[in-house]
């Protein structure tokens, strides 16, 4: 870990300005991801702007009937909020399926969205990795890529975004509010926050330097039953091999609408719009769920070690849809 300077921001505007003022400054929230990366010198910020004490830790009702979640709301608190539990149960399920109790107590909403990939080659500075060091190559492509992406990847990078929370939020059409150094704000649909790798895997989001996430807004809960299903190698404290967040609204024996997002398959929480389309109006049946799962993974490409994720994601989606319908 290289030495760095540190300041505690007094306000959101000031924090954004402080990061913008230095090219290698970074925000730090809970630090559960950033500090690990700094110890390994994968991240080497010269200056840290601590935003964890900013008064962005409230969950408020919005006029539209949704919730506005401050960037500094801890993962544990968000999961436990009674409004979240009753109206956005799959968000609570996703949060509780992530990391460990200790980490969730520290991890912030914004930090969770912006946590970096767990690709093991990214974590070892001696290995080629385009994300860590532009143009050095991708060790995972021909290597141990069991946990890697099957959708939206490129020759340059096949890493996945590891968050559970973000997958549920993607299914809920969350919107990200940011504040920029000049004080201007903007709202980004969660589906647009993370970029796919293409030729520039080191550029992971659409945020500008110094642009700070202030809040995440959840629209009013969509009709239908919500289920988050995470598949992992052990019962707890493991990242998703694949996960599925599904909301299915039924009308009689037909599906009126469905919203589906997948985790563990791409560099961003993956909204399965094709699958949603095939389900709209279909009779709720094993066949419809299977078709939806096929549609969701239609463009999927494996890289050897992660080939199994394609059938796994299909099977998981099929069953998660059935579970959402069953309990509707």
């Amino acid at each position: 870990m290289q030495s760095f300077t540190y300041e505690r921001a007094a306000s959101a505007e000031q924090a954004a300005a402080a990061v913008a003022a230095q090219p290698d400054a970074k925000f730090i929230s809970g630090g559960t991801n950033l500090l690990d990366l700094m110890k390994l010198e994968i991240e080497r910020p010269a200056h840290l702007v601590d935003i964890s004490r900013l008064p962005l830790d409230r969950i408020e009702e919005t006029a539209a009937g949704g919730l506005r979640v401050g960037a500094q709301v801890r993962n544990s608190d968000l999961a436990a909020d009674p409004r979240v539990r009753s109206r956005y149960p799959m968000l609570t399920q996703a949060l509780l399926a992530g990391a460990s109790g200790q980490i969730r107590n520290k991890a912030s909403t914004s930090g969770n969205l912006l946590q970096r990939t767990r690709c093991p080659y990214f974590y070892d500075r001696n290995m080629p990795c385009n994300k860590r060091e532009q143009g050095s190559g991708c060790a995972a492509l021909q290597g141990f890529n069991r946990t890697h992406a099957v959708l939206g990847a490129s020759e340059a990078c096949i890493a996945v975004h590891p968050s559970d929370m973000a997958v549920a939020m993607a299914g809920l059409d969350a919107r990200i509010e940011t504040i920029s150094p000049g004080g201007e704000t903007r709202t980004i649909p969660i589906g647009d926050l993370h970029r796919l790798p293409e030729a520039t895997p080191h550029v992971e989001t659409v945020l500008g330097h110094g642009e700070m996430i202030a809040a995440v807004t959840l629209p009013p809960p969509p009709p239908g039953r919500q289920v988050y299903r995470k598949v992992r190698d052990r019962a707890s404290y493991a990242f998703a091999l694949v996960s599925v967040a599904a909301i299915v609204e039924k009308s009689g024996d037909r599906i009126r609408s469905a919203r589906i997002a997948m985790g563990g398959v791409a560099a961003r929480p993956w909204r399965a719009t094709e699958a949603e389309r095939t389900l709209a109006g279909a009779v709720a049946s094993d066949g419809a769920f299977t078709d939806a799962a096929e549609a969701a993974l239609a463009g999927a490409v494996g890289h050897g070690g992660n080939d199994f994720k394609i059938p796994l994601a299909k099977r998981t989606m099929r069953h998660t849809l059935a579970a959402a319908v069953e309990s509707a």
């Binding site: 870990m1 290289q2 030495s3 110890k39 390994l40 010198e41 767990r118 093991p120 080659y121 974590y123 070892d124 500075r125 001696n126 290995m127 060790a139 021909q142 290597g143 141990f144 069991r146 598949v231 992992r232 190698d233 052990r234 019962a235 707890s236 404290y237 493991a238 990242f239 091999l241 094993d286 769920f289 199994f308 059938p311 796994l312 099977r315 998981t316 099929r318 069953h319 059935a322």
Partner: protein, 762 residues
């Protein structure tokens, strides 16, 4: 130095019969309060902090190393590389005899520009703070001339060689009868090849050392399982007499075999402390532990079994191909247990090694049985199915009357009793012998079992015990407590022997100034150190009695009896008795001291005359998600016959810890060696999975009443590793019973099951 405080008055301080009781750990309160000081927490005035930089390539040589920037970095005191490290002996020949030099040989660090394995130390930075040292290490620039290396075991099986011996000194091969003909002729057979992966110990406490010189005396505070090995290893690397090295290791946060010999943290701390004339502290990082503190090697195991139509084995063959290091051999005794487990007239076991450009493998909990039984006990399950026999019945039919290869009787062997008792308690009759049939909702349910066997070793050990004028007893030995409960059982042994309450006994461990023991390893700690202490207590009692009979001040003088006893704090001689403390005060105001020893087991007559093992039976129930293939444990049971149990609580903890290792080996533990770069890819605890609490189900442990009088004076046998042996196979067999899918490549992760799992209608 150790201060083992005994916990306060227990509800009823018992004297006779205190051995076996499930008393709480004596060091428990210290650990819970944070008062147990581990190596890296030890503070000495003026301590400097070291940080190791590891090699970025797995094979080659350092062409250029630029330490200038690091040397100029703030608070840096020393940057040590092969160019300026104090002279050390050469590492020596590529292949070494397996025992015993391996424990004591010089293990030089930073003494060559050669890089032998990925992340091998290439520099050490010492600074005023840990942070400064780590930051400066990041400023060192190294250019390597990289060379191609071998990292792919399956690709090089054809180049395998036979070592002279396996670990622990066993014969490399054993051949009895004519296996090949028996196998060819047999009506029923199994020929199955299994793969077991690289695994890492990952004790909670990393390898850490604080080294300090005082004149030419070196004191090493470290995390060591076996102090004598560390002492010898440090002395031969630094070329100083062992008497000038003191090792202190009172508390150890787990070792699992990875702390039997000194590693780079110890050697480099000693060297740097010598150069700087200041105490130096170094810990391996978690990531560094993967390359620098040993591992269990990857293996390919072929198991062939043949029977007659009644399920009586006519042939057993267990062939093992294991990875080893190109510069130092380690051959795990993977097939050795198979020499003693089941009867069969024709038998072969063989060990072969494939050298890779990696660090040397080391002893990892249950070396041999852990990987070996994982394969072998699955093959037995495959055989039972082929025969249409219950797996327990198959094993009963092949129960030997004496050790099948050595031809000597067993000291005690309760394998059949363990299996039968286990079957009854587990509800084994509810198992559906046809796999893939039991379903609860979308879970496929399966039952599995496996046998457990683990040799009983005993190592040479000496203990010293002293009693003072107040009747307080202090026992000292260089034994270690690696979290197993040594402090506690040794206290119990002394308390029972001397008839004193637990609170009168103080056991001091983990200091090489104390009498030498075999340390903690190979499950022999309790029996070896315990027997030495038992003998020391007997010697002490003898001294007390002699003095009591003759001393003028003794109230027992002239009792003229030979039937003496020590109980309830009193000494009784014939009809007369007196308080022990009172007696000592009268006859020996300075107290008494005595020593006791045991010889290494292999040297004893009893070891030659009897086949000595602990046994057990493991049972497991699993649930497999029919959609995702996720495997979760439901419950486990172990029934063990392991001699006399010294403390029912610490013994149970050892077994459930071992069973948890079985879950890890069956379901998740695997370090992936990248065949292109020669590095362990998943080298941290986020990616190297061990079972979490959520993965560990309800576990029941039952000990059968046993006393092995051939094993040692205590009647106890080793059990620290027994819980691992076969546990993983029971899990794997349960997975097969649940799904009908036999995965022979460990760990059994869902991706290996999934292709064969049918899609079940919703």
């Amino acid at each position: 130095m150790t201060e083992t405080k005994t916990s306060g008055n227990r509800s009823r301080e018992t004297r006779i019969g205190v051995i076996g009781r499930p008393i709480d750990r004596i060091d428990g309160p210290l650990k819970v309060r944070g008062d147990a000081t581990y190596a890296y927490e030890t503070t000495l005035e003026g301590t400097a902090f070291g940080y190791i930089l590891g090699a970025a390539v797995a094979k080659g040589r350092i062409a250029e190393i630029d330490t200038g920037e690091a040397e100029r970095a703030p608070a840096v005191l020393l940057v040590m590389t092969h160019r300026n490290a104090p002279a050390q002996p050469d590492f020596g020949p590529a292949v070494t005899p397996t025992v015993p030099e391996v424990f004591t040989r010089a293990r030089p660090a930073l003494n060559s520009e050669r890089v032998r394995y990925y992340d091998e130390p290439v520099a050490l930075v010492v600074a005023e703070t840990f942070e400064a040292a780590r930051a400066a290490a990041g400023l060192i620039k190294v250019r390597y001339d990289e060379e191609p290396g071998l990292y792919d075991l399956p690709a090089h099986v054809a180049d395998a060689y036979a070592p002279k011996r396996t670990n622990a000194g066993f014969e490399t091969d054993s051949v009895i009868g004519d296996f090949e003909s028996a196998f060819a002729a047999a009506p029923v057979k199994v020929d199955a090849t299994y793969r077991t992966p690289f695994e890492h110990h990952n004790p909670m406490e990393p390898h850490a050392t604080l080294a300090a010189w005082s004149g030419n005396e070196l004191t090493i505070h470290t995390s060591a399982q076996t102090l004598a090995n560390f002492r010898a290893g440090v002395a031969s690397t630094l070329r100083i007499p062992p008497e000038r090295v003191r090792i202190v290791s009172p508390f150890i946060g787990g070792g699992f075999g990875s702390k039997l010999i000194a590693h780079a943290d110890t050697i480099l701390a000693a060297l740097a402390a010598q150069v700087l004339q200041r105490p130096v502290k170094i810990a391996l990082t978690r990531q560094q532990m993967f390359a620098n503190a040993g591992h269990r090697a990857e293996m390919i195991q072929q198991v062939r079994l043949s029977t007659d139509t009644d399920g009586r084995l006519t042939g057993i063959a267990h062939d093992v191909w294991s990875a080893t290091s190109s510069f130092e051999e380690y051959c795990e005794q993977t097939a050795v247990f198979a020499r003693s487990l089941y009867a069969a007239p024709n038998r072969v076991t063989r060990h072969r090694l494939i050298p890779l450009d990696i660090n040397r493998g080391e002893w990892m909990r249950s070396p041999g049985e852990a990987p070996g039984m994982l394969a072998f006990e699955c093959a037995m399950d495959e055989l039972a199915e082929r025969l249409g026999l219950d797996p327990i019945e198959l094993r009963i039919r092949n129960e030997p009357v004496q050790d099948p290869e050595r031809g000597v009787p067993f000291s005690t062997r309760n394998l059949v009793a363990c299996m039968e008792e286990g079957a009854r308690r587990f509800g084994w009759e509810r198992r559906n012998p046809t796999p893939g049939r039991a379903r609860e909702g979308r879970k496929l349910i399966g039952y599995g079992m496996a046998a457990a066997i683990r040799p009983n070793y005993i190592g040479a050990a000496t203990a010293r015990v002293a009693i003072d004028r107040d009747g307080r007893v202090t026992a000292r030995l260089d034994m270690t407590d690696i979290g197993t409960g040594s402090y506690t059982i040794l206290t119990q042994i002394a308390a029972e022997s001397l008839g004193l309450p637990i609170s009168s006994i103080k056991v001091e461990l983990g200091d090489s100034r104390f009498p030498r023991t075999a340390g903690s390893g190979g499950s022999w700690g309790a029996a070896s150190a315990g027997s030495a202490l038992h003998n020391a207590c007997n010697a002490l009692k003898q001294r007390i009695l002699e003095a009591a009979a003759s001393s003028e001040a003794s109230p027992l003088r002239g009792a003229g009896a030979t039937d003496a006893s020590f109980a309830d704090g009193e000494v009784r001689l014939g009809q007369r008795s007196t308080s022990l403390a009172d007696l000592i005060r009268r006859i020996a105001p300075d107290g008494f001291e005595a020593e006791g020893s045991v010889a290494a087991g292999a040297a004893t007559q009893s070891y030659k005359a009897y086949s000595q093992h602990s046994y057990g039976a493991h049972f497991a129930e699993v649930a497999v998600d029919c959609d995702t293939g996720e495997i979760r444990m439901r419950r486990m049971l172990a029934v063990m016959g392991a001699g006399r149990i010294l403390n029912a609580k610490t013994a149970r903890s050892q077994i459930i810890g071992g069973m948890t290792w079985g879950i890890g080996a069956a379901l998740m533990e695997q370090t992936v060696l990248d065949p292109r770069y020669g590095h362990f890819v998943n080298h941290d605890l986020a990616e190297y999975h061990v079972p979490t609490n959520g993965d560990v189900p309800e576990m029941e442990v039952v000990f059968l009443e046993e006393h092995d009088d051939k094993a040692n004076p205590l009647g106890a046998k080793g059990l620290g590793e027994l819980g691992v042996c076969g546990a993983g196979a029971a899990v794997a067999n349960a997975i097969y019973n649940a799904t009908g899918v036999r995965v022979r490549e460990f760990p059994i992760t869902l991706d290996k099951l999934l292709p064969a799992l049918p899609v079940i209608a919703i």
